[in-house]
Symmetry: C2
Subunit: 360 residues, 2 copies
C-alpha cells in the first residue's frame, strides 16, 4: 500500500476503483468503461463539436445506459458558474409576486438557468441575509423586489463588490446603476387617485405601504393627484399596511374617523382587499358609499368580495423582462446598462370603484 493516508472513501491513489454500487455515475466511470479520457466524455456531455462521430455515439450510448447525470456542484465549481439565479420577493402570498416568479422562471428555464425563490417577508434584514446566502451560493445573478428603504446602500454595495449582476423589480431602490423593471409608482398613485376623484370622491384615504420605494412613490402620487384636483391632503387619511391583515386593521382606523372617507386607495391589492372586508363589516356599501382601488391586479382581485378596481402592472411581463435583462447582463460581462424599463400602469376598473361607466 502506497498511501496509508488517503482522504476519501472512494478510491485509493487516483487509481480506478470499479464503482461503489449506490454512488452516482461519474464522467470517470464512463471514460473507463469506454477507454477514452474524461475530457472526451465531458465534451460529449456538453455538446462540444470537436469529437469524432463514432466516439460520440459510443459515449452517448453509455451515458444513456447508465443514466448519467452531470453533477452540477462540481461543474459549477470548475466552471465558476452555477447557472442559478436568485429571486427575492417580499410576499409569496401576494400572487402579484408569485406571478413575477412565474415569469422569471419561464424565461430563465429555456436559457438553462434554475431560479431560486426566496421570501423576505417584507423584512429588510431578512432580505439582506437571504441575499448574502444567495451570493455565498455563487448565484450568477439576482432579481430583487427589494424591501430595503429607498436610501439603502450596504447590501447593494456588497452585491456590486462581488460583481454579480442584478435587476430590481417592482421596488425601485435609488440605485441608478442598477436596471429596474416595473411601473412608475407615482404614476400608479396618481392613476388610482385620479380615478377616484373622477368618480366623485372627495375624501380619499390611502393605505400606504411600508417605507420602501413602492410605498413611498405611490403615496407621493396620491398626494400629487389630490393637490392637482385642489383637494386637501388630510393627514389622518393616510394609514400604513403591508398585506390584507394589516390592511383590514388600517381600514378600521380610517372608518372611525369623522368624516368617514368616501374612498380608499390601497397601495397593493391585499391591503385593499383587507380594507374591503373592514368596510363591509362596518356596514358600508361598496362602491355606493365607499369606493376602493388597489394596485397590482393580483390573480384573485376579480373574485373578491367586491371585484376590485386596481392598477395593473403586468406582473408576469415584469418577471420575463427582468429575466431577459439579467440573462444578457450575465453573458455580456460588460457593466450593465442601468436603464429602467417602466411598465405603463393601466387602470382596471371593476365594481369596487363603480364599475365601467356605461356612458360618459
Amino acid at each position: 500500500m502506497k498511501s496509508g493516508a488517503n482522504g476519501y472513501r472512494r478510491g485509493a491513489a487516483g487509481a480506478s476503483m470499479p464503482n461503489p454500487p449506490n454512488a452516482p455515475v461519474r464522467l470517470k466511470d464512463i471514460a473507463q468503461d469506454l477507454n477514452v479520457s474524461v475530457m472526451t466524455v465531458s465534451k460529449v456531455v456538453r455538446g462540444c463539436a470537436d469529437v469524432g462521430a463514432q466516439t460520440r455515439s459510443r459515449v452517448l450510448a453509455r451515458i444513456k445506459e447508465l443514466n448519467y447525470q452531470p453533477n452540477w456542484v462540481a461543474r459549477s465549481l470548475a466552471a465558476r458558474r452555477t447557472f442559478i439565479v436568485g429571486l427575492v420577493v417580499p410576499d409569496l402570498m401576494n400572487t402579484f409576486f408569485a406571478e413575477i416568479a412565474k415569469g422569471v422562471a419561464s424565461a430563465m428555464r429555456p436559457l438553462g438557468y434554475d431560479v431560486v425563490i426566496c421570501n423576505s417577508e417584507e423584512d429588510a434584514s431578512l432580505e439582506a441575509s437571504e441575499i448574502e446566502r444567495l451570493l455565498a451560493r455563487q448565484v450568477d445573478g439576482l432579481i430583487l423586489a427589494s424591501v430595503q428603504p429607498p436610501d439603502a446602500e450596504e447590501i447593494f454595495a456588497k452585491i456590486e463588490a462581488r460583481g454579480v449582476p442584478y435587476v430590481l423589480v417592482d421596488r425601485r431602490v435609488s440605485r441608478p446603476s442598477a436596471p429596474y423593471v416595473g411601473a412608475d409608482d407615482e404614476a400608479i398613485g396618481r392613476l388610482a387617485t385620479e380615478h377616484l376623484i373622477e368618480r366623485g370622491c372627495r375624501r380619499i384615504a390611502h393605505i400606504a405601504g411600508p417605507h420602501h420605494p413602492a410605498g413611498v412613490g405611490r403615496l407621493k402620487g396620491y398626494r400629487e393627484a389630490l393637490a392637482a384636483a385642489g383637494l386637501k391632503a388630510v393627514e389622518e387619511y393616510v394609514e400604513r399596511a403591508a398585506d390584507d391583515a394589516t390592511g383590514y386593521q388600517a381600514a378600521r382606523r380610517l372608518l372611525s374617523l369623522d368624516p368617514v372617507p368616501d374612498a380608499i386607495f390601497g397601495y397593493n391589492d391585499p391591503a385593499a382587499a383587507g380594507a374591503m372586508k373592514a368596510i363591509l363589516e362596518a356596514g358600508y356599501r361598496i362602491p355606493e358609499q365607499i369606493k376602493v382601488v388597489g394596485a397590482g391586479n393580483m390573480h384573485y382581485s376579480d373574485l373578491l368580495r367586491v371585484p376590485l378596481s386596481t392598477v395593473d402592472q403586468r406582473s408576469t411581463g415584469i418577471g420575463e423582462q427582468a429575466a431577459g435583462i439579467l440573462a444578457k447582463a450575465i453573458t455580456s460581462k460588460r457593466r450593465r446598462a442601468g436603464g429602467a424599463i417602466l411598465i405603463e400602469p393601466t387602470l382596471v376598473i371593476r365594481e369596487s370603484s363603480g364599475g365601467p361607466l356605461k356612458s360618459t
Copy 2:
C-alpha cells in the same frame, strides 16, 4: 517559468499569489495573512472546538475584516452535502402552496438549509424534470406536492436510487415507503359533501381535480358521502378543473344542466372561487340557491365574492412538519420510517354554504 501550461487564471503552480482585486476572499487568503494553515481557518469557520483560543480570535478578526464568506459550492462538493432541499409544488398562485412553502422555509432555515422552490404547474413531466434538476444539483432532500398520477413509479424510483430522502405533502402518491404529511383526501371529500347534505342540498355537483391522489381521493370521499346519504351520484355532476379559470368553466357547464345543481364542492379553493364567479354571473344567489364549498382554506378565501366555506388542512403546519421529518431523515442516515402524518381536516363554515347556524 516552470509551467507554461497553467490552466486557470488565478495562481501559478500552487504558489501564493497576492489576491486578484475583485475576487472573493478565500480560506487560503486568510491563512496566508495569518501564517496558519488553511485547515485551521476552515475549522474556525465551521466552529470546530479544537483550535487554540488565541488562534481562533486572530482568525475571527481577519474574517470579519475581510468579510469572508465561505463558498458554498466548494464546500458542498467537498463535504458532499449541499444543505439545500428542494420543494416542488404544482401552483404557487394557489396560496395554499405558498403557505406550505413558507412553513417549510421557516422550519428549514434555522437548521441551516436553504429551500429551493419549484413550480410544476400541474404538469407531471415538468415536475419530473424539475426533480431531476434538483437531484443533479445534489439537494440533500426533497419535499414534493406531486402531480404524478397515483400509480407513478419511475421518478420516485429514481429519487430512491439516488438515496435522497423525500417527503410527500398534500398529494399522497402510492409510495408506502415514503413519508407523507397531509390530510386524508377522502375525509376532505366526505366532510365537505356531508356538510352540504346537512345544509339540505340534494343535487351536489363536484369539480374534481386532475388525476392525482388529491383529486381522486376527494372525488371518492364525495361519492362515499353521497352514497351514505342515499343520494344518487349523477355522472354529469362531476366536472374537472385545476384552478380558478378552469373552475369557472367547469361551473358553467354544470349550470347548463337540468336540473341545475343546488351545491358545488370544488376540490380546491381556486376551483370553488372560479365556480362562484360563474354562478353569480349566471344570476344565481349564493348560498340561497346554490351553495359552494372548497378545500384548502387558502389565504384569500375569506375575502372572496362570497366568503368561501372550505376544508382547512393547516397548510403552514404541513410545511413545518414535512420539514421536520425531512431534516431528521437527512441526518439519521437510516432508512426513513415511511409513516404518514394525517392532518385532521376541519370544516370552516362561511357564508357560501349558509354561514354558521345560529341555532340547531
